[in-house]
Symmetry: C2
Subunit: 345 residues, 2 copies
C-alpha cells in the first residue's frame, strides 16, 4: 500500500466504540436501580425481557412513543442534562394513563453526534429517576453515535413506554356523556410543548440567556423553561381504581382544543371556561413579548392545565377535594356538550 | 401594540401544525394496514392498545429500541425514503427473535426539521410494509417537528418493538454448551451498521455519488448501500418451534466479536472460521479503498453474516439443509468453546 493511501478506522470516521462502552458502564447501575421482579434481563441482551404481570382477566398492553422536542435546546444552553429524561418518562406515563393503563417498562433512544459519557449518564439519570418514581422498569434503550447529524454537544432523546390495563377498565371515549364535568389539574410549566415558539420569544425577541432572570419571576430562564413535565400517575391512580373517571386528556401539543377531543366519544364536544383559572405568568410573558394571539396561545401551550379529567357532574366536587388533598391544584373547568370541537369560552 | 412589535405564531417560529395534520392523514391507511384482531386502537389515541394474546402459560414481553443510524444519509443523498423503515423494523424484529420472541407491535419515532408530508409518508410506507411482512402491528408513533435540530431534508428515525415468548422458551444463554456448532446465515449487505465508516470511504475517499456504479459491481452506490436489512423471522421461526435452537446472535454494531458473546452463557467463548465463507465484494472494496485493517473490518461490519445460530453439533447439518430449503444461504461457521471472547480464525 502506498504511503498516501488512507488508513481509516471507525474512530477516525467519527464513531468511538470505546466511548460508547464507557457510556454503557456509566448507566448500568442507573438502569439496574429501576428493575423489579418482573424484569428478567440486565443490560446487554439484544431484547429486554419483562414478565407479564398476572391477575388480569383480559390484559391489554398500552404503549406510546414520544420525544422531548426542542426543550432539549434549553438543556444544551444551560448545560443541565438531568431533567429532560424525566420530562420524557412523565410525558409517556401520562399518555398511557389517559387510556387507563399503569406503566410496566420504558425504553429510551438517545442519539448524539459525539458521544460524551458524562452527558449520557446525566440524561439517563433523569430517565431512571422518573422510571423509579413511576414504578416503571427502564428495560433497555439505544444510544446512537451519528456524526454529521447532530451539532457538537447536542442530542435527540425519544422514549417508548409499555403499560397494562384490564380490558374492561380501558378509557376509550365510550364512557363520556354530554353534561359530564371537566376537572382540570395544573401543569408545572410548559411541560414539553411549544418550545420552538417559546425559545424564539425568550432568546430572540427578549434577548435573554439561560441564566437571566425570567421576566416578572424570581426564577432564571433555565429554571422556568426546564421545569419538569409532571406525571399525574400518583394523583390519578386512586381515581382510576374507584372507577369514576370517564375519560382523561393529556394536554400536550395542540393544547386543550387539540387534545380534549381525542378523549371524548363521537358526537361530543366541550365547553371550557378559561375564566376558571389564571394561566401562570410565563404564558403571559410569552404572549405579550411575542405578540402571540390568544387562540394561538391556547393551541400551542397548555396554558396552565396539564390534564383534564371527565367525570359525571355529581362526582366533580368530590374529585376536586380528593385531588387537593393529594396536593394537586384542581378545579372544575368546563363541561362536555353534544356536538364537536372545543369552545374556549 | 406598536407597529414594530413582533407578531409571532407557531408557524412563523418554524412548526407547521397543518403540515403535521397532512402527514397524519397520509399515513393513516398505512398504519391501519398493519392492524390485526389484537389491535384495539386506531391512530389518534394517546396510547396504542394491544390485547395480550392468550394461550401462553407464563408470557414474557421482549422489547428492543433501535435507530437506523447514518444509513439515513444515503437515503437523503439518493432521495429514496421508502426502505429505511424496513431496515428499522427488521433490525428490531431480529433483536427480539434472538431471545426467542415473535413480534406483536412496533412504534416509530420520526424527527424532522421541516415537515414534508410526502417524505413522512414514504418513510412510513417502508415501516408499514415490514410490519406486515413480520406480522407485527404498527401501533403508533411520534412524528416530531424540531427546527434547528435537523438540516433541511434530513430526519432521524428510531423504533421500538414489543414481542412475546413463553417464559420456558426464552433464549437467555443458559442452553449453550462448549462444542455447540455455529451456523451462519448470510446478510443482505451492510444491514444498518458501519455506515459512518462506509460513507467516508465511498463518498470521500472514492468520491462516488449515490447513482455512481459501485466498484466491481453491477449495482449503483445507492442500491448497494440501501440494500434492506433482512428479517430472519420467517426462516428461524420453524426452528424455534422445533426447540433445537440453543442461542441466536444478531450481528449488528460490533460485528461478530461484539455480538456473539452477548448470546453465550458465562464461561463460554467461540471460534469462528472466517475461511468458511467469502465476504461479499462490498466489504473488500471498503477495506481496500479505506485501508481498513482486517480486525477493524470484523469489528465494524457484519462481513456477510447477519445471524448466527447455536445448535448441538449433531443438529448442525440438518439445520443447514432446512435453512437452505427455505432459500437461505447457510453454513457451519465455527463452534462454541470453553473460555471467553471470540477467536476469528
Amino acid at each position: 500500500m502506498s504511503d498516501d493511501s488512507p488508513r481509516l478506522n471507525y474512530r477516525a470516521a467519527g464513531v468511538d466504540l470505546d466511548a460508547a462502552d464507557r457510556a454503557k458502564r456509566a448507566i448500568k447501575s442507573l438502569v439496574a436501580s429501576t428493575h423489579d421482579r418482573h424484569t428478567l434481563s440486565g443490560m446487554g441482551s439484544f431484547g429486554g425481557m419483562y414478565a407479564v404481570p398476572g391477575g388480569l382477566e383480559a390484559p391489554v398492553l398500552v404503549s406510546s412513543a414520544d420525544g422531548v422536542g426542542t426543550k432539549l435546546k434549553v438543556a444544551f444552553l444551560s448545560g443541565r442534562h438531568d431533567t429532560v429524561g424525566a420530562d420524557l418518562v412523565n410525558h409517556c406515563v401520562n399518555d398511557i394513563l389517559v387510556q387507563g393503563a399503569r406503566p410496566l417498562f420504558f425504553m429510551d433512544y438517545l442519539a448524539t453526534g459525539d458521544m460524551d459519557a458524562g452527558v449520557v449518564a446525566r440524561v439517563v439519570t433523569g430517565v431512571a429517576r422518573a422510571c423509579r418514581d413511576n414504578g416503571c422498569a427502564l428495560l433497555g434503550g439505544e444510544t446512537a453515535q451519528m456524526p454529521d447529524f447532530y451539532a457538537p454537544g447536542e442530542y435527540d432523546l425519544a422514549g417508548f413506554i409499555v403499560g397494562i390495563a384490564e380490558r374492561g377498565a380501558l378509557l376509550d371515549g365510550s364512557r363520556t356523556r354530554a353534561g359530564d364535568a371537566l376537572v382540570a389539574l395544573a401543569s408545572s410549566g410548559l411541560h414539553t410543548n411549544g418550545y420552538t415558539l417559546a425559545r424564539r420569544v425568550v432568546f430572540d425577541v427578549l434577548g435573554l440567556d439561560a441564566e437571566s432572570p425570567f421576566p416578572d419571576s424570581e426564577e432564571t430562564v433555565a429554571d422556568t423553561l426546564l421545569a419538569v413535565h409532571r406525571s399525574y400517575l400518583g394523583s390519578l391512580s386512586p381515581e382510576l381504581e374507584r372507577g369514576t373517571v370517564r375519560a382523561l386528556a393529556h394536554v400536550t401539543g395542540g393544547g386543550i382544543p387539540g387534545n380534549l377531543p381525542r378523549s371524548l366519544g363521537p358526537g361530543l364536544g366541550a365547553r371550557v371556561d378559561t375564566g376558571s383559572w389564571n394561566p401562570p405568568g410565563v404564558f403571559g410573558v410569552l404572549a405579550r413579548a411575542g405578540g402571540v394571539s390568544r387562540p394561538e396561545m391556547y393551541r400551542v401551550f397548555n396554558m396552565g392545565v396539564g390534564m383534564l379529567v371527565v367525570v359525571a357532574p355529581a362526582e366533580a366536587d368530590g374529585l376536586v377535594s380528593r385531588l387537593r388533598a393529594r396536593g394537586e391544584e384542581a378545579w372544575v373547568a368546563g363541561e362536555v356538550v353534544a356536538g364537536s370541537g372545543v369552545e374556549m369560552g
